[in-house]
């Protein structure tokens, strides 16, 4: 089976790497979009440093909000294990991505063995607007018998703000449904937890939620559980943070890492033609970048055929399937070593990118 192409021409893997390295070396401003496991991410950072390139995660736009919560605000957090074992009140906040629904359902069927009482109460704070249930959140909410909290015409952000004001007994123009039930449950709960993910439309709602949790902690205990929009992407963020000191949207203009979420927005750089070569790396799927103004690109993706328009295509392995992998998992709230479920000799991102870096003239 072929794994490497220059244009639409089948070549050997090493020829493809040599060719890609040449393109990268002759580029003035290469940029990298990536989606890889921890070791893939480490190799991407090393390559970017060597090239003086900028990088972002393929899901960088979704990550901005979640990263900003930590870089600008902070908050109070707990772990999935503590929610399962201790939380006697769970408030689901907005839409939680489908990849986390099994986790949430698993709490419903497990005893909170560290809580004083066995029964766990559930609420769902949500936007009140006719929107398609893309994530299956309504169905999840029904399964755990969550009491709905919402207010006429209020977005999620407004609902969070409203809840915070009402819990602090500040005057509000409107009121949340079932607020009394929540107040009573909060009064009886020993360890309530608010479960949330990034809310791309309303960045301030994440900080507002943390404000609410901080208010509750003045007299009692409460915490929040952060379930990233995308576990693998969050793992890449954490890896970038230790390797460079910064979350992604980082560049190496003068050798040292520079973090700047606006300047190194890869989409923007391509659109405004600041970049002249795009390296696209996805160990997840075969999706390729939207072509921007004819800027050439190199694709390292999961594919069985050359990516249309790519100067070089290299087919990569799938972490945790083709090869052992380390990824972030919200099941445990940290990194996990995962054995390959169907080991193959498909080349993995970390190795290809390392060879690419080694093939650069330096």
């Amino acid at each position: 089976m072929s794994v490497a192409w220059v244009g639409s021409q089948v070549v050997s893997l090493s020829d493809a790497i040599q060719h890609a390295a040449k393109l990268l070396a002759s580029s003035h401003c290469p940029v990298i979009s990536f989606d890889a496991d921890v070791h893939g991410t480490r190799s991407v950072i090393a390559l970017a440093e060597k090239l003086g390139a900028a990088y972002d995660h393929i899901r960088g736009r979704d990550l901005v909000n979640e990263i900003t919560l930590f870089t600008s605000y902070g908050g109070m957090f707990t772990t999935p294990g503590e929610v399962r074992r201790r939380a006697d009140l769970v408030v689901l906040v907005g839409d939680i991505p489908a990849e986390h629904h099994d986790l949430i359902l698993s709490w419903a069927s497990a005893p909170a063995d560290l809580a004083a009482k066995d029964a766990r109460r559930w609420f769902h704070l949500k936007a009140n607007r006719p929107a398609p249930d893309n994530t299956g959140m309504n169905s999840l909410s029904r399964k755990v018998k969550a009491v709905a909290l919402s207010a006429e015409g209020a977005s999620l952000g407004s609902a969070v703000a409203l809840l915070r004001a009402e819990l602090a007994d500040r005057p509000t123009v409107t009121s949340l449904t079932n607020l009394d039930k929540l107040k009573k449950a909060l009064a009886e709960a020993a360890f309530p937890v608010f479960v949330f993910s990034g809310n791309t439309d309303e960045p301030m709602s994440l900080a507002m939620l943390q404000g609410l949790v901080a208010d509750l902690n003045k007299a009692k205990r409460a915490s929040s559980l952060f379930l990233p929009t995308d576990d693998a992407a969050w793992g890449a963020v954490l890896t970038c943070v230790w390797a460079t000191g910064f979350p992604p949207r980082t560049g190496f203009p003068n050798g040292a890492p520079v973090y700047d979420p606006r300047r190194w927005d890869i989409e923007r750089m391509l659109r405004e033609k600041e970049a002249d070569l795009h390296l696209w790396i996805s160990a997840r799927d075969s999706a390729s970048p939207a072509r921007r103004g004819g800027i050439p690109f190199i694709a390292l993706v999961r594919t069985i055929s050359p990516v249309p328009g790519a100067a070089v295509t290299i087919a990569v392995a799938r972490p945790g399937v083709d090869h052992d992998s380390v990824t972030y998992s919200s099941r445990i709230g940290t990194f996990r070593a995962e054995r390959a479920s169907a080991p193959s000799d498909q080349p993995e991102v970390a190795d290809i990118v390392r060879e690419l870096a080694e093939a650069l003239p330096c």
Binding site: T71, S72, G74, F77, T78, T79, R85, V237, D324
Partner: protein
């Protein structure tokens, strides 16, 4: 390769070399080890060390260099990295080892070759070791946190046997690949989840009916029985509070004939005297340490400037939120300890001046350099990049007097510091930062320059500016590789993480499997990892237990 390090002044307390003209001799290195001077052989490489002092590579026993909480702090404070980079000399954090990469480089430049990350939560062991594996040049090690975890507290509550506790501790050490056990505000993090906000040595965790003292004593004995070379590493209750000296004092008294290490004692050196009810009790604590041979301490010196406090003492960090500067914090209720990140600026005001003085009093009033260890509790008291300045303060009364003149006089009046004339000798520095840490951690292969030791060597050019001398080593060797020359890193090799490898008891492994499946709904392999997960050729090196 045979290497000759020529004509340096050897300071190697373990082998009776005390510096000065009489200690000037060559040091020979082959295959990564220090060897006897070979007869009739010529060196492949010779390095001139004349005018220099030669010590073993330094060992830092307590520095928060990697893992979940450290990384969360990086995420919270990207500005600490970028904003200061262009002006390295200005503030301590300017050059702080903020990424894994800079951490290894900056430590090596100062002649440090082994650093212990003292607060690894068991479930983030993989994360911690991934980070440590990305720290270049130096060797690393970790201490695993126990003492707020449900499993241990349940064993104590249920009166389970010492054997079972030992099996659990040994399993944890093995599963997390660590070098020892740390307990952090024993019981307080568990109690905090029940909204208990102040917690002392004889207070009880409500859900378990177990006291902090019981937890500490249980772990201290277990570590001792298991032959873990490093005594239980204790972060006591009430850190940072006025009156915490009493807590430190009862904790020291609780050694009861068995070794115990008390971390960052400076943060417990406070009494309640004076107008502000915040005074120094350092002299009393130092006296208590002097008269109790079972206790060792590290200082956790405060130095002035911006830093960030990173601690698994979630109770304490929650209470400190109001002091955050800048105003953003992270508090984590974790599976065991959790922790908190609170950025902080040590100012030269009453409180900062007092804390600074308390640390120095402890250094200078504890007589035995084998039992007082050199730390700033990086980054809690100061970033480790402040070490060279701290060496100068210890070695020069004049340097202390200069600084004292600029500090809060009312605070210093409540300390003994201005009256202390002691100056550390280079030999004492070598004991405190080389020989003693190796002994405390059970690392027989380092901390000295005798034949057979690994060739971790720091060479400093003698000069009148003590801080400058320690900031940029003239030469540093790690396992015989030259890694630093004239204060610049010249070789980015990879070090290893030192670990004990106790054989886990099979019954305990089965218990752990059942516990994780029942309590977390996940098989045990979600919480453990093979060495290969780190993708380094030899990520670990083994250290034997005492028996």
């Amino acid at each position: 390769m045979l290497i000759r390090l020529k004509g340096g002044e050897i300071i190697d307390p373990v082998n009776d070399a005390r510096g000065g003209a009489s200690a000037r001799r060559d040091l020979w290195i082959e295959n990564g080890f220090i060897i006897e001077a070979p007869e009739g052989r010529r060196a492949d490489r010779t390095y001139d060390a004349s005018g220099c002092i030669v010590m073993a590579g330094a060992i830092d026993i307590h520095s928060h260099i990697g893992g979940g909480n450290v990384n969360t702090a990086r995420l919270l404070l990207p500005e600490h990295h970028s904003a200061h980079l262009p002006r390295p000399a200005d503030t301590p954090l300017a050059n702080a080892g903020w990424s894994t990469f800079t951490t290894g480089c900056l430590y090596a430049q100062m002649g440090f070759t082994t650093v212990v990350e003292p607060a690894m939560s068991p479930y983030s062991a993989l994360h911690t070791h991934l980070e440590l594996a990305d720290i270049p040049i130096i060797d690393k090690a970790t201490l695993t946190i126990l003492g707020n975890d449900d499993f241990l507290l349940s064993l104590i509550r249920d009166g389970k046997s010492a054997d079972m506790v030992d099996d659990y501790v040994a399993w944890t050490l093995a599963a997390t690949n660590s070098l020892g056990v740390k307990v952090i505000n024993a019981g307080a993090a568990a109690a905090f989840k029940e909204n208990v906000r102040s917690f002392s040595f004889d207070d009880i965790v409500p859900a378990y009916g177990v006291s902090s003292r019981q937890i500490v004593k249980t772990l201290q004995s277990s570590v001792n029985r298991l032959g873990v070379p490093h005594p239980l590493h204790v972060h006591a209750n009430n850190l940072g509070l006025a009156g915490s000296a009493d807590t430190a004092s009862v904790t020291i008294d609780a050694t009861e004939g068995m070794p115990l290490h008390l971390a960052h004692l400076q943060f417990y050196g406070y009494g309640t005297e004076g107008k502000r009810k915040f005074s120094s009790e350092a002299a009393r604590l130092a006296e208590q340490v002097n008269s109790n041979p079972d206790v060792t301490i590290d200082v956790g010196q405060v130095m002035f400037g911006q830093t960030v406090t990173i601690s698994s003492d979630v109770t304490r960090q929650f209470l400190a939120i109001g002091n955050a500067s800048p105003k953003k914090t992270i508090i984590i209720d974790g599976d065991g300890n959790g922790g908190g990140i609170v950025p902080y600026r040590y100012k030269e005001n009453y409180y900062g001046s007092l804390q600074w003085a308390v640390g120095l009093e402890l250094f200078l009033l504890i007589n035995d350099p084998w039992r007082v260890f050199f730390t700033t509790d990086h980054p809690n008291g100061a970033p480790f990049t402040a070490y060279p300045d701290l060496f100068e303060l210890l070695m020069s009364r004049e340097a202390r007097d200069r600084q004292v003149a600029e500090l809060n006089a009312a605070a210093l009046e409540l300390t003994t510091l201005p009256s202390i004339s002691r100056e550390y000798t280079l030999e004492e520095i070598a004991i405190m930062t080389r020989a003693a840490p190796a002994k405390l951690l059970g690392l027989k292969d380092r901390g000295h320059l005798g034949p057979g030791a690994i060739a971790d060597i720091a060479v400093y050019r003698r000069g009148r500016d003590i801080a400058a001398m320690f900031r940029e080593a003239a030469l540093v060797f790690k396992d015989g590789d030259l890694v630093v020359e004239n204060g610049k890193v010249v070789n980015f090799r990879w070090g290893r993480a030192l670990r004990l490898r106790p054989e886990p008891d099979k019954t305990m492994v089965r218990r752990m499997q059942a516990y994780h499946e029942e309590r977390y709904g996940l098989s045990l392999d979600w919480f453990t990892f093979p060495d290969s997960a780190l993708r380094r050729d030899e990520p670990f090196a083994e250290v034997p237990c005492n028996r």
